[in-house]
Amino acid sequence: MATVTTGAATPEVLEEHWSETPGLGSFLTTVDHKRIGKRYLYTGLLFLVIGGVESLVMRIQLTHSNLHVVDPETYNQLFTMHGVTMMFLFATPVLSGFGNYLVPLMIGARDMAFPRLNAFGYWVFLGAGAFFYSSFVVHRLPDAGWFNYTPLSDSVYSPGPNVDFYALGLIFVGISTTAGSINFIVTILKMRAPGMSLNRMPIFVWGELAMALTVIFALPALTLANVLLELERRAGFHFFAAAGGGQPLLWQHLFWIFGHPEVYLVVLPALGIASAIIPTMCRRPMIGYTYIVLAEMAIALIGFGVWVHHMFAVGLPSMGLGFISLTSFLVVIPSGVQIFAWLATLWAGKPILKTPMLFVLGFIVLFVIGGLSGPMLAAIPLDQQVTDSYFVVAHFHYVLVGGAMFPIFAGIYFWAPKMTGRLLHEGWGKVSFWLMFVGFNALFFPMHILGLRGEPRRTYTYQAGLGWDFLNLVETIGAFVLALGILITFVNWVWSAKRGEPAGHDPWRGESLEWATTSPPAEYNFENIPTVRSREPMWDQPELGPHGQPAEAGGRGLGGGHNTLVTSLLEAEPEVVAPMPHESPWPLLLTVALLGIFLGLVVRSWVFWSVAAVAAVIATAGWFWPRGETQET
């Protein structure tokens, strides 16, 4: 490490310490949160395409009664992988991608707290995605639903490797999500720029924090459930099968203890995106910042007390159900608080209807609809009627697609200029929005009605004469309109990255620190780590510009080395100048070894997975092996 005598930093010195040599080497070893964040985004959107194509095939199959486009086995694989893909390989990673790219920029840091763990998280996500879809090569995609209820998923009723791909894949991808969440929490708590006390933190960052905390306490339930399932399927243990003294409902409890918070951990950062865009595009600070923050935390907390509402029809005693029903009603309140805070801000401000704002407004409309059908499912008798019907499918697509995918697209239009330096095309953006909005509603609104008319979920076909044909046709048309809208944004993005209008460092006149960098930002993000004196620093501190903050105004160059600043938890007082790790091949190598272990387990080859396990131990040792100085830092 270079010895530092003055604290000043120059771009040249920073460049020397932070730049990664272009080429394959740094492609495989990078630890730059911006490169990793973009990879999460691109890979996640690739899985959106895959999951989307799966849903289009399902929609074609259901266009009319008694069609035979795909056989029942294929259909079951399609809806299972559609759910798994959209939840674990699209929504969660894309929102992690935004977080990865934006959180360090928004809090004025130079990278995430654990850069190599960050790289590892991405590679594991990619490896897990490859693992899931390697089952496609052998035509053994998981087929017991994303909820994978036992005993249908046990070795008696699902003897093939399909469910093993599911269970092991989820354990695998869980490693990525957990690593990412620990990284987010430490980054957010310990790396905020001086002066950015918790009550000045951007709401988007609060959303990522709430998501990460939810992962810490929710994801273990899914991982545990899948470990137990594999022990039962592969080693003859008894947890779920009634025959050996197990309980089929144990799976459902564990799955939904994870599964309901999973919904919130997808929605929370997406709500954060909306809260980041609304003040900027309304030209005023958010009204009710504190209420929104409290609401996000309340959602994360109450989200752990509602899981049994997925099990209202399993025949549990009604006393306990009453409590869950109440919490399920009440969890609507914090969502409502956020919506009313946005409404107040929109009403008081001057909304500028550019594409990102259109997507946010569309999101609010859809999220309100999803939020209003929520209490209907919290009401026990009504839930017992419509659960497992298309009514539920409609509800959670309004919440998840409306509540997460629309904000994600708003985020693409809003922040892609930061990533590429060029604005997306506004006209095509609006075309894309309207196609998506109209297509979405044509696709999902009729599902409410079909559910009430008795159409169950997860059925590969339906009989003629039930009055279900027409609305199913409308839905299929809507699906293709929605897909066209999505496609237009993708083309727009690719086209604009090269030929779009130059964005400058702050195209929307934003209020948070990511706009105090060049577009795209330098490897080290900020020449000087800025000192923050307001909740909207870009609006209140005129000295902030594309090159951060000059030292005279409070910026800290940290001597220009490969360092970042550690600050205190509540008030963000500077504590330590911490050296940061450099590029490393070990995250990728460890991932390859892990992929080998999981593939070895699924093909039941002792040799294969033992060799991979040895490789994983070596890779772990390589990761932690001291290089250069023996002394710990």
């Binding site: 009723y157 099968a241 309304c282 209420y291 409502g336 929109l346 909304p351 009401a379 017992q384 497992d388």
Partner: protein, 335 residues
């Protein structure tokens, strides 16, 4: 329109097909939650309409404010926008917490009251019917020994207790016009009260994903006038009579693979894997509702069931045309 159906006239071969066409074709409302045909479903709908009305009002308010805010914004300057109004935070608290909370708690209490009404603690039933879910059909047993499949006859206007179990994976019993569903779970005995207000056929299907043919696990609840029901149940408990089993089809049934899985009481066939067929000729459908019970469909179902219901446990059977005709006639005659 009403799809009332009386007891089958003897010899009316085509009647089941007509009945199927009428019940699943002409009466969309017969599968609908919001056209309740029994007290339980009616009770739920009493919760649904007020919730829908309230949701609509909230939607109109929020989206109205949203659109108006966007329209008003065009006339404003950025200086207007920078002013923080005094009503902002009180509005969030009042609309988001106080009003929303009151509405939500109100509906919570209302829904709990409905739960009380639906659980019927302490009520007695005159009739308990046992229903067992199988991959992918329904076994139905009556206290007098009658065994049927895929059709539950109940007396109209009478509260019937269903005892629900499963033979394999989790299924869920759901007949929307008659009321809420309940799952059938291994190692657990669930019950459901079933009551149809008036005679008719009510369609439902399995609501918990149970594998390949989850889509074709259809149940039909046939509510008869009480007198008709008593006659039906008494007849259903009888073995097949000589008139039905005297023809050339019986030996085909007994010697081919049929008897390995199916029971026809009064003959040598005593398999327990598939549905009891003792009174098959009185049912409206075959293959758990996948087809109406016509001769053509029945012949195809016997020779090539996998083309109709891929994955079902029933294997294809190769028969001479004469044997097939005899077998179809035998099955049709099981009344």
């Amino acid at each position: 329109m009403r799809c009332r159906r009386g007891p089958l006239a003897p010899g009316a071969r085509t009647l089941p097909a007509v009945a199927v066409a009428l019940t699943v074709g002409g009466c969309g409302g017969k599968t609908s939650v919001v056209s309740p045909k029994g007290p339980a479903a009616r009770s739920v709908v009493g919760l649904w309409w007020p919730m829908l009305a309230t949701a609509t009002a909230v939607f109109v308010f929020v989206v109205g404010m949203l659109v108006l805010a966007a329209v008003r914004g065009r006339r404003k300057t950025e200086d207007d926008a920078a002013v923080t109004p005094g009503w902002g935070e009180p509005f969030i608290v009042v609309a988001g917490v106080v009003v929303s909370g009151a509405i939500l708690v109100g509906f919570f209490l209302f829904s709990l009251q409905k739960v009380q009404a639906l659980t019927d603690a302490g009520r007695r039933s005159k009739l308990t019917v046992s229903v067992v879910g199988h991959d992918w059909w329904w076994e139905v047993r009556y206290p007098n020994g009658a065994v049927s499949a895929n059709e539950i006859h109940i007396p109209a206007g009478v509260r019937v207790r269903l005892a629900l179990d499963t033979a394999d994976v989790i299924h869920s019993f759901w007949v929307p016009p008659l009321g809420p569903k309940i799952d059938m779970i291994p190692g657990q005995h669930n019950t459901l009260w079933l009551q149809a207000g008036e005679p008719g056929v009510y369609r439902g299907q399995c609501a918990e994903f149970c594998g390949l043919q989850h889509a074709n696990m259809i149940i039909r609840v046939v509510a008869d006038a009480p007198a008709d029901f008593d006659a039906w149940m008494a007849r259903e408990a009888q073995p097949a009579d000589d008139a039905a089993t005297g023809g050339p089809g019986r030996p085909v049934f007994e010697t081919q693979s049929c008897a390995g899985c199916h029971t026809v009481r009064g003959t040598a066939a005593a398999g327990t894997v598939g549905p009891d067929l003792t009174h098959f000729g009185r049912r409206d459908t075959l293959g758990a509702g996948v087809r109406p019970r016509t001769d053509g469909d029945l012949a195809r179902w016997i020779t090539d069931p996998q083309s109709i219901k891929p994955g079902a446990a029933m294997p294809p059977t190769t028969l001479s045309p004469a044997d097939l005709r005899a077998l179809v006639a035998f099955l049709e005659g099981l009344r």
